[in-house]
């Protein structure tokens, strides 16, 4: 065996940080791994798994506390600059200079890497073509959409062909179309230049494209191998259930996920429910759990193996990082099932338009949302979701059109409408240096609750979301913060809850728990309007709307939207891409015709 030197060789690597409360913890805990040259390698794991720390150590930006680490045959600790001269690294938040133009950003990185002029011309041309940005070279980077920024970041990282490319979650917060474009670029470069690439990701379909996958959780390496090898770990445990007509898939999913003793994981997918049984659960037990529902085995996916590994690690550890959902209390509040198809809609939107100067952010949009419905607002970066959302919450006045929320016209009675809605913003908008209890006290006051009623409600949400009232809010894990934000948004018992990308940056386990809470709230009669980048989350919604460039492209149940996208679009991601692309083609034809 005369294998070439490994690209990365790690032995017993440890990186220790101080937690916000002062106790040290190992962000990377005795990890040993070898990355082969000329391959695409994935690091997968939930938030806080240690992926970013590991990458930063490979890039020489963090020094390990113990263990050995060699990259391209160089001891990183001894000579970080030599490594940095030869690799390219794209951090999670690529630092574009926002006041410089696209071209100036590219030139800067080409100069820093010493790319000769002759090579540069050819390289830039190709990069701009692949990223579809040739038209925008003079535009300041700050004025690009999120997806475009990410593509420019990748282009800046790839101004030259490095010996090793490190990509830290390149697709986080990026819409499915931009995500697909990013991966096209990466895969083409691997094919053309035999690049060695290490990519960290939370998306299993991305890990599936890699030759080698490392699964990490809370600093530990749980498993490694090719996607096929990892998939086999879930063999025989995976099933698909077909709910009887009229029963929402998410109700079946809720029943399954509420029984963690027999079920590892369950998600709604394409109108059906995909689930994983525990190895010790037999089919008879499953039949008892799903008496009126047909289910059958299915082939395992990488995600199944991933969830299995994560659950095993969390269970074995006993500390259970994410906590259990608080749906029972939420479910009881409303007193039984309330059907989504109540008569009067709680949100009525007719011909809604919002312009910023010459730019039309939202063009003539109409839809209704009914009581107890979960309504999803989807679209690529810059589609007008956020603008629509802000108008619905009364944060932004509409240019024209009719807008009615909770029976109030938002043009004339904005304050009354606002008292009936709750809003949970994308970023953590609570006071980090106040405790959980102090934050809730403040928000109760802000919503006009006082005295016994305020105390009742604060007590109720603390129970409902199982919060520790004394914990300082700033140092809570992301999943906890999300629960606290939800608790604050629900203090005044709103009829409608608006959630703006609530799950971005949350790990899959916390996301399951989060959606379980949402579906329980909807059952108790709260109407939910939610935006998301995770297309599989659209499956939890009763109805979804897809927007692009301010226009409404699709509106209906997930099944209807999939049907609109065409026959073979089995999953939401493919349906979304098909609809947005078709919308763009139509738009271009309209403009040609005009």
């Amino acid at each position: 065996m005369s294998a070439p030197d490994p690209t990365v060789a790690i032995q017993g690597l440890i990186k220790r940080f101080d937690a916000p409360d002062g106790t040290p913890f190992d962000a990377v805990d005795a990890v040993s791994l070898t990355v082969r040259a000329g391959e695409l390698t994935a690091l997968v794991g939930p938030d806080g798994a240690g992926k970013t720390s590991l990458m930063r150590m490979m890039a020489g930006l963090l020094s390990p506390d113990a263990g050995t680490l060699s990259v391209l045959g160089i001891d990183v600790r001894a000579d970080p600059q030599s490594v940095q001269d030869r690799i390219s690294y794209m951090p999670q938040r690529f630092g574009l200079y926002e006041d410089l133009s696209v071209q100036e950003n590219l030139d800067l990185y080409a100069d820093l890497h010493g790319v000769p002029q002759a090579v540069r011309r050819e390289r830039f041309g190709r990069m701009l073509e692949m990223t579809d940005m040739a038209r925008f070279t003079a535009r300041p980077a700050g004025k690009l959409s999120g997806g475009m920024k990410q593509k420019l970041g990748l282009a800046c990282t790839l101004v030259r062909s490095p010996d090793l490319l490190l990509l830290d979650e390149p697709s986080v917060g990026v819409d499915p179309l931009s995500r697909r474009d990013l991966w096209k670029i990466i895969e083409q470069l691997i094919a053309d230049e035999r690049l060695s690439v290490i990519v960290s990701t939370a998306y299993m379909d991305e890990a599936e494209r890699c030759a080698q996958v490392f699964v990490l959780n809370r600093g530990r390496l749980l498993a490694e191998g090719s996607p096929e090898a990892l998939r086999r770990r879930a063999e025989g445990l995976t099933y698909v259930a077909e709910p009887v007509a009229g029963l929402p898939p998410r109700d079946v999913q809720a029943r399954l996920i509420d029984d963690p003793g027999s079920i590892v994981d369950a998600v709604p997918k394409g109108g059906r429910i995909w689930f994983i049984r525990r190895p010790e659960t037999d089919e008879a037990a499953l039949r008892a759990l799903l008496p009126d529902t047909r289910f059958a085995p299915r082939a395992p996916e990488l995600e199944d193996a991933f969830m299995l590994l994560l659950h095993a690690h969390e269970d074995g550890d006993g500390t259970g990082g994410t906590g259990t959902p608080a749906h029972e209390a939420a479910g009881r509040d409303g007193g039984g099932d309330i059907q989504a198809d109540d008569d009067a809609p709680v949100i009525v939107v007719r011909d809604l338009v919002r312009r910023f100067g010459d730019f039309t952010a939202v063009a003539s949009t109409s839809f209704d949302v009914h009581r107890g419905e979960i309504f999803g607002l989807l679209g690529p970066n810059g589609a007008g979701k956020t603008t629509t959302f802000r108008m619905l919450c009364g944060l932004l006045p509409a240019t024209s059109g009719h807008l009615e929320v909770a029976g109030r016209d938002l043009r004339t009675a904005r304050a009354q409408a606002r008292a009936r809605i709750g809003y949970v913003s994308q970023k953590f908008a609570l006071y980090a240096n106040l405790s959980v209890r102090e934050n809730l006290d403040f928000f109760a006051g802000a919503y006009g609750l006082s005295g016994a009623r305020a105390q009742d409600r604060i007590g109720a949400v603390i129970d409902q979301f199982q919060l520790d009232p004394r914990a300082p809010s700033g140092i809570l894990p992301t999943g906890y913060k999300q629960r606290l934000a939800m608790a604050a948004g629900l203090l005044h018992e709103p009829e409608i809850l608006f959630l703006d990308e609530p799950t971005s940056g949350i790990d899959p386990l916390a996301r399951r728990a989060f959606w379980r809470t949402i579906t329980a709230l909807a059952r108790s009669g709260v109407t939910i309007v939610v935006t998301t980048h995770f297309m599989e989350e659209a499956e939890y919604c009763d109805r979804i709307a897809i927007q692009d460039a301010g226009r409404m492209l699709a509106l209906g149940t997930p099944a209807e939207v999939r049907a609109q996208a065409g026959g073979d679009a089995a999953d939401m991601n493919a349906a979304f891409i098909a609809i947005v692309e078709q919308g763009r083609v139509d738009d271009r034809q309209d403009r040609h015709a005009a």
Partner: protein
């Protein structure tokens, strides 16, 4: 392509980037070019210890020609504006209403007493404003002395024994406080512009995450420091020229030392000041904290402790030691010397050596804050 051979390419690329960012950030450019003007006008015209046309109530209880001579002497002074009042009570009322800053009273027996060689004039000043009070005291004294000399002249009597003080002020002959303050303004402007402009530069890159991307390239920390210094040094040099032109032509401050040396010393101090801002920026990694720190660590002490206004020999020892540790103090001394006294080489050499040492120290410290590490 890496290592030393790429140094020039990378330095030029980074400097071009910094220059573009500077030119596109209007607010920063405004601070850099307009603030010096504002400061010069504010301090040059607003801050002055000279008293001109101070209103003084004169109570003339003795109406003899001798007493009138004294009043004429007060009237002739450009610094005083006598207001004749009928009685002491009126004068006190004016003083309470802050209409006048002092009272000069010539008692009924003034002429008689003077003839006997014991003429007394009462002067009351408003101690609430001690600077003005001291100035008025001096002016009234001067006017009285002139008046009595005139009287003696006319009487044809020589000075009768005693000692006459012949006073002269060196370097600032007119005792004009503007001469004393305007050179110090150069120090304040260089301090504020330098530290304030650069205090945001590294912190901004930390906050926006641009440094993480920049670090994993062949870039060396020294190149980052130099590229951030260059464009702001140009802005600072423009400010030096603005300050010098204003000092010479707006405030008529003499330049008695070498102009070239003043420019050289200012540029040296400018580098120290820019590096201090950069160091604070790199050490705090937070734009808000950095700008606050820059203000506290550079501008405030330069204003209070460098000898800009207050003589450092009159402050407690601890404060003196702190003051001596400030680069601003050494530059202040140097600038005042070069403007008003001339080129005194021992002071020039000592101050420049100290400033150069600071520049080197701060450059090393700043470079260290840019070591390519996130932990």
């Amino acid at each position: 392509m890496s290592g030393r051979s790429g140094f020039h390419t990378r330095l030029i690329a980074l400097t071009r980037k910094e220059t573009r960012q500077l030119l596109r950030d209007r607010s920063n450019l405004l601070v850099g070019l307009l603030l010096p003007f504002a400061l010069i006008l504010l301090f040059g015209y607003g801050l002055s210890f000279d008293v001109e046309n101070a209103p003084v109530a004169v109570v003339l209880e003795d109406r003899s020609p001798g007493a009138r001579d004294i009043v004429a002497g007060l009237d002739g002074s450009p610094y005083l504006a006598p207001v004749m009042v009928a009685s002491m009570a009126d004068a006190e009322a004016l003083m309470r209403a802050r209409k006048v800053d002092g009272i000069v009273r010539l008692p009924v027996d003034f002429s008689a007493a003077r003839a006997a060689g014991d003429g007394r004039v009462q002067l009351i000043v408003n101690g609430a404003d001690s600077t003005t009070a001291t100035a008025i005291e001096g002016y009234v004294n001067g006017a009285l002395q002139t008046a009595s000399l005139h009287a003696a002249d006319r009487a044809g009597v020589g000075a009768r024994g005693g000692v006459t003080l012949v006073q002269r002020t060196w370097f600032n002959e007119a005792g004009n406080s503007r001469w004393y303050l305007v050179p110090g303004l150069l120090v304040l402007v260089m301090t504020l512009i330098g530290a304030f402009l650069t205090s945001l530069l590294i912190a901004r890159e930390w906050e926006r995450g641009t440094l993480e991307s920049l670090f994993v390239t062949p870039v060396r920390p020294t190149e980052i420091v130099l590229s951030k210094l260059a464009p702001y040094a140009v802005i600072g040099a423009i400010d030096v020229v603005i300050c010098l032109i204003c000092a010479r032509f707006m405030f008529d401050v003499p330049i008695r030392g070498s102009l070239l040396l003043i420019i050289f010393a200012s540029l040296l101090y400018l580098i120290v000041s820019l590096l201090l801002g950069l160091f604070i920026s790199g050490a705090t990694r937070n734009q808000f904290a950095a700008s606050q720190m820059a203000l506290l660590a550079s501008f405030m002490p330069a204003m209070m402790l460098s000898g800009f206004v207050f003589d450092l020999r009159n402050v407690p020892l601890a404060i003196q030691i702190i003051a001596q540790a400030l680069p601003a103090t050494h530059f202040m001394q140097l600038v005042k010397t070069l403007f008003l006294a001339g080129t005194i080489w021992p002071i020039v050499i000592k101050s420049c050596a100290i400033l150069a040492a600071y520049a080197v120290l701060l450059a090393v410290l700043t470079r260290r804050t840019l070591a390519k590490r996130l932990d």
